[in-house]
Each structure stands twice: as C-alpha cells, then as structure tokens.
Amino acid sequence: MTGNAGLTTFGSMDAAAIAIVLASLVLAATLLGVLHRTTQGRARTIPARWNTDARIVSIEGVSLGERATLLQFSTEVCAPCKSTARVLDDLAARTENVTHVDLDVTHRPDLASRYRVLQTPTTLILDSYGAVRARIGGAVRRDIVVAELQKVLAA
C-alpha cells in the first residue's frame, strides 16, 4: 500500500484483496458443488448377513414387494424427488414383484428419524424379507439402482 490513500477511496491492494475474497468464495462453492455431485446417488451396499430383525423395515400401511422394494423417502419440498420417483417407478414397473414406494415424511418425522433420512430423496432397497440391502442418498442414477437391485434379486 502506498501513502496517498486519501486520493482514492480504496487503494489497489484493497481491490486485489476483495478480488481474492470473491475468487475464494467462488472456488469454495465450486468445491462444495463437486463434492455434492460425487456423493449424490452413490449406493452403500449392506450385506445380507448383517441383517437382523432390527433391520427389517416395517411401516404401517406400506406393503412391500414380493422380491424387492424400492423405498423412497421424500418431502413436499424436494426438487430431485420427482425424477427419482420416475426412475424407480419405471424400474418397478419393468421388474416383476418389485414395488416402488414413495413416502412423504413431511408429516411423518418419526419415519425420517427411524430410517435416518438426512437428505431427500433417500432410497432404501429392501429384499424379499424387507431387510435393507442398499441405501442411496440423493437423486438416484438408474445404472446404480439396477446394479444394486440385481444383487438383491440374485440372492
């Protein structure tokens, strides 16, 4: 910084500092966005042997599929839930004895806590016993759901 600060409202260093702040913000937001994008739709497979009675999903009024269930948790305010519902609906329609259930947890916070729904949509893939075999956070990717579903149906 030079001495004649009185001549300009802010010196050139200040302008550079502001540019650095703004650039860092854009960079930080971009990193957050990339991180979010890479974690979206990833499946966490849960081996069948880990399943105990406590892992069996049983929700009043919800009937599960004979071979598998695609259990989706949504809320009223959820932009990616619709596209996820469309993918899961379509997969369920194409696969015999596989059901897609879309649960709105807006009015059922108890279900959101019980199944640890931390983002919408969250999709659980259940086997014929209703045991959770995979968990997918965020908008689903068709190929990933198909792969997880295959594992469940193969057993």
């Binding site: 409202t9 802010f10 200040d14 500092a17 502001i18 702040v21 703004l22 913000l25 854009v26 930080a28 937001a29 971009t30 957050l32 966005g33 990339v34 979010h36 994008r37 009024g61 949504s74 809320t75 009223e76 305010v77 959820c78 932009a79 990616p80 839930c81 619709k82 596209s83 519902a85 469309r86 609906d89 329609a93 897609h100 259930v101 879309d102 649960l103 709105d104 947890v105 807006t106 009015h107 059922r108 916070p109 959101a112 806590s113 729904v117 931390l118 983002q119 919408t120």
Partner: protein, 170 residues
C-alpha cells in the same frame, strides 16, 4: 406421458415450470450477492459503499419477498428468462415443481433480512457474511442444481416445525 403414475405420491399437481428458470434466477442472484459482498468489503472503510451495499441487500430482500409470496413463477428474473431467454432455447426436457424454488426464495429472504438486521449492529461485515451464505446457496443451485431449501425443509420437518397437523394420508 406425465403425471398419473401409479405410486402413492401426494406431491403437488400444480403446473410445472421450466427448471432452467430458477437456475437462471439463482445465477443473477449469485452475481448480485458477489457485487454486494464487494460493496460491503469496500464499505468497511467507505460509508458511501456501505450504504450502497445496504441498498443492494434491501433490493435483494425485496425480490426474495416478492417471489416467496407470489410464487417463483412471478419472479422478475424468472419472467425475464421466460420472455427473453427461453424462446431461444429448446423446450425443457422435463418440468419442475415450483414449490421447492419458491421455498428457496423464503430461505434467501431469511438470510438476507438477517444480514440487513445485523448491519445495524455490526456494520457492513454483516452484509458480507450473510451475502457469502446467500451467494454459496445461489451458486450451488444455479451451477449444480443443489437445492439447499429442500435440505432445510427436511430438517424443519424432522424437528417437527412443519407438518405435524395432519397425519400422512394413505
């Protein structure tokens, strides 16, 4: 080939909007908040810039308020997108529910109003901090289609702030 699928989704049947509209809107908002942050930083030592930063924050808050109350379909930047930009683009692949982006306007209003309120306590740095939060949310929404409002809505629902009134309809 829309609507009326089989499942038990009680989501809104309101007419869908072009999802690119809210993302365009978010881009404009993100840029305005970057400008506001810059003004706020200059305003740390320059009262005129501080006033300008406050003015822009109030303008942003007013736009959020308008869109939150009237619905995102009536968002001024959204209308600009609809009238000027959308006719030059291919039709949207799919339509989006207007409820999430409308809720997001309310979230934006809350953050911006908080910054304006704290401006009178802490000065322009409050606008910088609130502006940074609003920028990140708008940027993620615009560039990555990330819906922060959806996340906040879920946490409000889980906290029991929302939607205890009626039990889940079958």
């Amino acid at each position: 080939m829309t609507a009326s699928s089989t499942s038990s989704v009680p989501t809104s049947t309101a007419k869908g909007i072009d999802p690119r509209g809210p993302r365009f809107t978010a881009a404009v908002v993100a840029i305005l908040f970057l400008v506001d942050i810059a003004l706020g930083l200059v305003g740390l030592t320059n009262p005129a810039a501080a006033t300008a930063a406050l003015g822009l924050a109030i303008f942003n808050a007013a736009v959020f308020l308008w869109a939150a109350i009237r619905g995102v379909q009536h968002h001024p930047y959204g209308l600009f997108f609809k009238k000027v930009i959308r006719p030059r683009l291919a039709p949207p692949v799919e339509l989006e529910d207007p409820i999430p982006p409308t809720f997001a306007q309310g979230v934006g209003l809350f953050v911006t109003a908080l910054g304006i309120g704290l401006f009178f306590v802490f000065g322009p740095i409050a606008l910088v901090v609130a502006g940074a939060a609003a920028f990140v949310a708008a940027f993620l929404n615009s560039v990555f289609a990330y819906c922060l409002g959806c996340q906040i809505y879920l946490f409000l629902a889980r906290a029991g702030v929302l939607g205890r009134k009626r039990p889940a309809a079958a």
